[in-house]
């Protein structure tokens, strides 16, 4: 499945400054593995040492927080829209 992933500023040094990059995979976990192949070092920024999404990382699949879906096992389709966003924001 070919998808586009939006990458926040703190991760762009892994993507050569690009804010949006292509990736492949049938689940969020596979997409992250593919990102790691293309941009070495990025996985460690997204997942903790237990392989879970880090506390301060939010990943959105077509606008939905993947924690509301099946987290890393959420299914990904061709053309899906994935965003990585730092959790630290807000305060109404």
């Amino acid at each position: 499945m070919a998808v586009r992933v939006r990458v926040p500023t703190p991760l762009r040094r892994f993507t050569g400054g690009e804010g949006e990059v292509p990736a492949d995979g049938a689940s969020i976990r596979q997409v992250i593995e593919d990102l790691e192949k293309r941009h070495a070092g990025i996985r460690e920024r997204l997942l903790d040492d237990k392989g879970e999404i880090r506390r301060f990382v939010n990943i959105y699949l077509n606008g939905d927080d993947v924690r509301f879906l099946e987290s890393l096992n959420s299914k990904v389709k061709d053309g899906d829209d994935i965003s990585i966003v730092p959790a630290i924001a807000g305060g109404r």
Partner: protein
């Protein structure tokens, strides 16, 4: 003269220069302002603070600004109201409300954080300030931006109260409504901040912005006669204010301005948006996001950025927390209005309703000093209570009609009949 030394990651400790940054590049943890407390301790005294104007800048050494603050000259230093009538109903002698319903100029605690954020935005040379907001923050950013001569862009989720939209647009800010909830708006704004290079007060200026919330705590301590309360109940949405009030109390101790007692800090959430309370009651660190559903829109955040720090501050202090249902929130708003003449927004009703629970649970004792944090004004959220109040009577302009009505109301005979 500045007392800030750097920004520092709260998680991994990595340090960064003082810049518009909010996320650690290594671990995505939040950045926090680092001060030279030894220097502050030497520079700051009670007398020096007391001699300054009654605004939030009287604690400027403990705030992250460099020069003379230019924003919010009338913000902060809101009343700490000793609630004798409400206290009597609840069996408490020393019950206080910290009343930010009358903060200048937009009637909520957001005037504090925005004063600090926009002062900092000007120091950094930004010309556009922006925010993701459900309302109170929006009106504060719009008003302070207007007075500072900056362009304002305000992003809100659909469904916020009409008054908050009008109350932002009136100041000349560009208001944009996003189809989605607050968390959707927040996500979009993180992406816009990255792309457009604006000062988002609650995103890239967040380390500075959140420091402004400490002034709520500084003022309480000063207004209690340089003492800390035994208990303070604070609403929790994104999780900014509660840890910052705890930090304020600790800083005052650290720089020698107050001694004790050891305060307990308690968190209040609406039952329809209580992810932090769920984690607190379960005894876990992991906060599972929820989809908010409550009349308390100003605290309807399902995925609180700083929720973890709320848990930590509550647990470290030996405090607790609870949630309140929508009917409990409305009842508490009416109780505060009826006994103390203060009209709070639903976030304030939530906080008082939870304070009542903590009293009933025996966690707050009758002889202890308690502060209930009221962070926003009920006049902005009339929709939340309008269906729960009695309708007025309508009569003709004839004395006989009023006499009949008065009798029907069971109020007895007129006290002083004309003789």
């Amino acid at each position: 003269m500045s007392y800030i030394t750097s920004l520092k990651c709260k998680e991994c400790g990595q340090e960064y220069p003082v810049a518009p940054l909010h996320v650690c590049e290594t671990c995505f943890g939040p950045l926090e302002v680092n001060y030279d407390y030894a220097k502050i301790r030497a520079a700051l005294t009670r007398a020096k603070i007391e001699a300054r104007p009654h605004n939030l800048w009287r604690y400027r050494e403990l705030l992250p600004v460099d020069g003379e603050p230019e924003v919010g000259p009338n913000s902060g230093f809101t009343p700490l109201v000793h609630c004798r009538r409400l206290g009597a109903e609840l069996g408490l002698k020393s019950l206080y409300v910290k009343d930010d319903t009358v903060n200048h100029p937009t009637l909520s605690y957001k005037d504090r954080v925005v004063s600090v954020a926009i002062t900092k935005a000007r120091e950094f040379g930004f010309t556009t300030v922006s925010c993701a907001s459900t309302g109170n923050l929006a009106t504060a950013v719009a008003a302070h931006a207007a007075r500072a001569g900056l362009k304002g862009f305000i992003f809100m989720p659909e469904g916020v109260e009409a008054g908050k939209i009008v109350g932002s647009t009136i100041y000349g800010a560009q208001v944009i409504i996003i189809r989605g909830n607050y968390d959707d708006v927040n996500r979009l704004c993180s992406e816009i901040a990255d792309k457009y290079g604006w000062a988002f007060v609650n995103i890239n200026l967040r380390p500075y912005y959140t420091e402004g919330a400490k002034t709520f705590g500084f003022e309480i301590a000063e207004q209690l006669g340089w003492k800390l309360p035994d208990h303070i109940v604070v609403p929790t949405a994104g999780g900014t204010i509660l840890p910052k009030v705890a930090k304020a109390f600790k800083e005052l101790k650290d720089v020698g301005l107050v001694k004790g007692p050891n305060f307990k800090i308690h968190s209040a959430q609406a039952a329809g948006s209580a992810p932090v309370i769920h984690a607190l009651h379960k005894g876990v660190d992991l906060i599972t996001p929820v989809k908010p559903d409550t009349i308390a829109k100003s605290i309807a955040i399902g995925n609180p950025a700083d929720g973890f720090y709320v848990l930590r501050a509550v647990r470290e202090s030996g405090g607790w927390g609870d949630s309140a249902t929508d009917p409990e929130i409305v009842d508490a708003i009416k109780l505060l209005a009826r006994t103390e003449g203060i009209f709070a927004e639903p976030a304030g009703g939530t906080t008082l309703a939870v304070a009542l629970k903590l009293i009933n649970q025996g966690r707050i004792k009758p002889d202890e000093t308690v502060v209930v944090s009221i962070t926003g004004n009920g006049y902005k959220t009339l929709e939340a209570v309008s269906s729960a109040i009695e309708r007025p009577f309508v009569i003709d302009a004839r004395l006989r009609e009023f006499d009949t009505l008065f009798e029907r109301l069971g109020e007895g005979k007129p006290a002083a009949a004309s003789a």
